[in-house]
């Protein structure tokens, strides 16, 4: 771990919204390139960085669309700069092909999606959490992805830094799945001094550049099977491609090479899923029902859990800060002991299905879903908790 570059860290207590806090998190994590395209409710992230970047050596460019924004940040990363883009549903859809390119090229970068109601143009100024499956599976082909989901401006700051750190640790794109509520909610955000912010440095190759093979994994780093990087201009004259490739980065069109590559790409995240867990648990031991939630739905769940406790129910709460990969081991441990799990999410059933698939009938798994546009009515969450307790 290294410490944050003080130039990007606005140490102090601030009264800012989730979008602005996300921008501050990115800058604190060392992001110095952002390409974006305006879309409500995410634009404030880019606006904040456009205003702050010129005095810290960062570059902002407003691209012609989100396809371009996503492509540009991959290029910028290979140029040697920590990079990010930010969007909402329609733009997220446009980014998907190049998300796959980032996965295939193993490009560490961050994509922020401030979710709004969908499908299509949907509810531009109102919240949703219905892009969660798109975050997991939105680009074609098999891959694993990492996604964090903040429930407050403070978490938007903290988890954006975590997202950058995970992207470097796993050499992978990482999503910050905000939503309109958190994005536009103004609260106190405390930004620590730079020397108290841990930043995962890029895994860099240290041998002679002419010997560099961009996808040669020799032991990886900290148990993660990734190869060290070099950037353009460092003398390696390397090649990288979205095609299935070997350790040299050269295309190899064989099932064997494909299997070898994919097993590593998927495995580097799947095999470390127990280390990528970030949950906050309350009263899980001895509970009959455990509520699972992420993002803004966590804030609604607080109320419903409190109401259920007042009614004498034994309820625990698991707030997921990282949704993908799912905290599978922990969920299974809990499922073995409770009557039911209640998943609170602002969609008509997305993450809950992964939980159901995982739990496979060991206990009840109920959805407290919601169409979006507003947050849930906590009473509806409460009734699901009661149903699970029966």
């Amino acid at each position: 771990m290294a410490k944050a570059d003080p130039q990007g860290v606005l140490t102090g207590a601030h009264y800012i919204d989730g979008d602005e806090a996300c921008a501050e998190g990115a800058m604190a994590a060392g992001c110095r390139f952002i390409a974006g395209y305006p879309i409500t409710p995410s634009t404030e992230v880019a606006e904040r960085m456009a205003g702050r970047f010129p005095t810290m050596g960062g570059t902002f460019i407003q691209m012609e669309d989100e396809l371009a924004s996503m492509a540009a940040i991959i290029g910028a990363c290979w140029g040697g700069t920590k990079s990010m883009t930010v969007t909402s549903g329609p733009g997220f859809s446009l980014m998907m092909e190049n998300v796959g390119l980032a996965v295939m090229m193993e490009t560490p970068l961050v994509v922020v999606n401030v979710q709004r109601g969908g499908p299509s143009t949907g509810l531009p100024t109102m919240p949703g959490q219905a892009d969660m499956m798109q975050a997991k599976w939105g680009s074609h082909g098999d891959y694993e992805i990492i996604a964090v989901a903040p429930n407050s401006p403070q978490e938007a700051f903290d988890l954006t830094i975590e997202a950058f750190n995970l992207s470097e640790r796993f050499r992978s794109p990482v999503f910050v799945m905000l939503d309109e509520c958190v994005g536009h909610m103004t609260e106190k955000v405390v930004i620590p001094p730079a020397d108290r912010i841990e930043v995962v440095p890029r895994f860099m190759y240290e041998g002679p550049p002419e010997k560099y093979l961009p996808y040669q994994v020799d032991g990886g780093r900290d148990g993660v099977p990734i190869s060290p990087m070099l950037h353009a201009g460092m003398g390696a004259r390397f090649h990288t491609t979205g095609l299935t490739h070997d350790h040299r980065g050269y295309p190899v069109m064989t099932p064997e090479c494909h299997e070898q590559l994919l097993s590593r790409l998927v495995g580097k995240i799947r095999d470390h899923k127990d280390e990528i867990v970030h949950v906050v648990e309350t009263d899980v031991e001895g509970a009959d029902v455990v509520v699972l939630s992420y993002g803004i739905s966590t804030r609604v769940a607080y109320g419903a859990v409190a109401d259920a406790k007042r009614k004498g129910l034994k309820v625990g709460h698991v707030e997921m800060k990282i949704v993908w990969p799912l905290p599978e081991t922990r969920i299974l441990e809990i499922a073995a002991k409770v009557k039911g799990l209640v998943m609170v999410e602002m969609n008509l059933g997305q993450v809950v299905r992964e939980v159901q698939r995982l739990v496979s009938g060991r206990c009840k798994v109920l959805l407290a879903g919601h169409y979006g546009g507003t947050v849930h009515d906590p009473k509806k969450v409460l009734s699901k908790i009661e149903e699970a307790a029966r």
């Binding site: 130039q7 110095r32 390139f33 390409a35 010129p54 005095t55 810290m56 050596g57 960062g58 570059t59 460019i61 691209m63 012609e64 669309d65 396809l67 371009a68 924004s69 492509a71 540009a72 940040i73 991959i74 290029g75 910028a76 990363c77 290979w78 140029g79 040697g80 700069t81 990079s83 092909e97 190049n98 390119l101 950037h231 353009a232 201009g233 460092m234 003398g235 390696a236 004259r237 390397f238 090649h239 990288t240 491609t241 979205g242 095609l243 040299r248 050269y250 295309p251």
Partner: protein, 306 residues
């Protein structure tokens, strides 16, 4: 930088075998990827040669140049060039290159891709990169067709050429690429056929050294699909046609250089203009408002600024 010097073999008595000689371009090509996938008589091989010659002529350090391609037969160029090279997604080479360049302004970034890639699916990126005068050089290989996918109509196909998706003849009006580039703001625009290796490499050198957005369009026959479907003879016949029908007219008005099906057409250097680049404009603006507080991107000043 000097050309690779071919040493005389020590045992002069024995005949010189070609395979014992170093390949004249091995310093610039990924020899471990040769043979390439392109068809015999495809124009792409000469484009690669011209690109290498252009880079040599411009005396650009190989470590300071990146090649970015999209997808297609032309999109494979990046994979054969011994530079930092990126084979990206269909149509997105330009925004990828934009990010690369802005993140690492010491690099010269050249985009090599096909007509369908840059002007079909990637057309929006082209017009904006030209408008911004982003410091990039685009080499577009125009073979009038989507070759890699089997010869479908492209936004450059002159009617009434036959393609696999216009079996009764193409009828949409094609783009005039130099005219489009100039009107969007490109500062250097030239067109040659793949036969004009020397003029082509000279233009590539000029484009690389010119700060700002440049386009070199290369008319390069797709012998396998375009020629065969349109009964234009062998790849060699097609080259002969271009030799006889390409009229050199430097400084021609780009509005007049559209290409019709199997008719004489104009090649040459069409645009060589001065306009500040995106990076120059950005720095000027930031300095004028922020003064000393402005901190340029790490990597410092751009390669084309003094």
């Amino acid at each position: 930088m000097s050309d690779t010097v071919t040493k005389a073999p020590e045992r002069l008595a024995e005949p010189i075998r070609a395979e014992d000689l170093p390949h004249p371009m091995e310093k610039w090509l990924r020899m471990d990827r040769i043979p390439h996938i392109w068809c015999p008589t495809c124009g792409l091989g000469t484009v690669v040669t011209a690109l290498v010659e252009g880079i040599k002529e411009a005396q650009i350090e190989p470590d300071r140049l990146a090649v970015v391609s999209g997808i297609g037969c032309t999109g494979r160029v990046a994979g054969y060039m011994k530079f930092d090279s990126f084979h990206t997604t269909h149509g997105r080479a330009l925004p990828f290159a934009t990010g690369l360049r802005l993140s690492n302004p010491k690099m010269k970034v050249v985009v090599v891709s096909g007509d369908g890639d840059i002007f079909g699916i990637g057309g929006n990126h082209f017009i904006h990169a030209a408008r911004r005068n982003m410091d990039l050089t685009v080499i577009c290989v125009n073979n009038f067709i989507y070759a890699m996918t089997g010869g479908q109509v492209a936004p450059t196909t002159p009617g009434p050429a036959n393609t696999s998706t216009t079996p009764f003849g193409a009828f949409e009006p094609p783009f005039n690429l130099p005219y489009l580039a100039e009107s969007c703001g490109a500062v250097y625009v030239a067109r040659w056929t793949s036969l004009d290796v020397r003029r082509m490499s000279h233009s590539i050198a000029k484009a690389l050294l010119k700060p700002g957005f440049s386009l070199v369009e290369i008319i390069a026959p797709c012998s396998t699909l375009y020629a065969r479907r349109n009964r234009l003879g062998s790849g060699l016949d097609l080259l002969k046609f271009y030799q006889q029908n390409a009229i050199i007219q430097n400084g021609a008005k780009t509005a007049d250089v559209g290409i019709d099906f199997q008719r004489p057409f104009i090649v040459g250097e069409f645009v060589d203009a001065e306009r500040p680049t995106w990076e120059e404009l950005m720095r000027k603006q930031m300095k004028s408002v922020l003064g000393e507080k402005f901190i340029p991107h790490e990597g410092g000043e751009c390669s084309s600024c003094e």
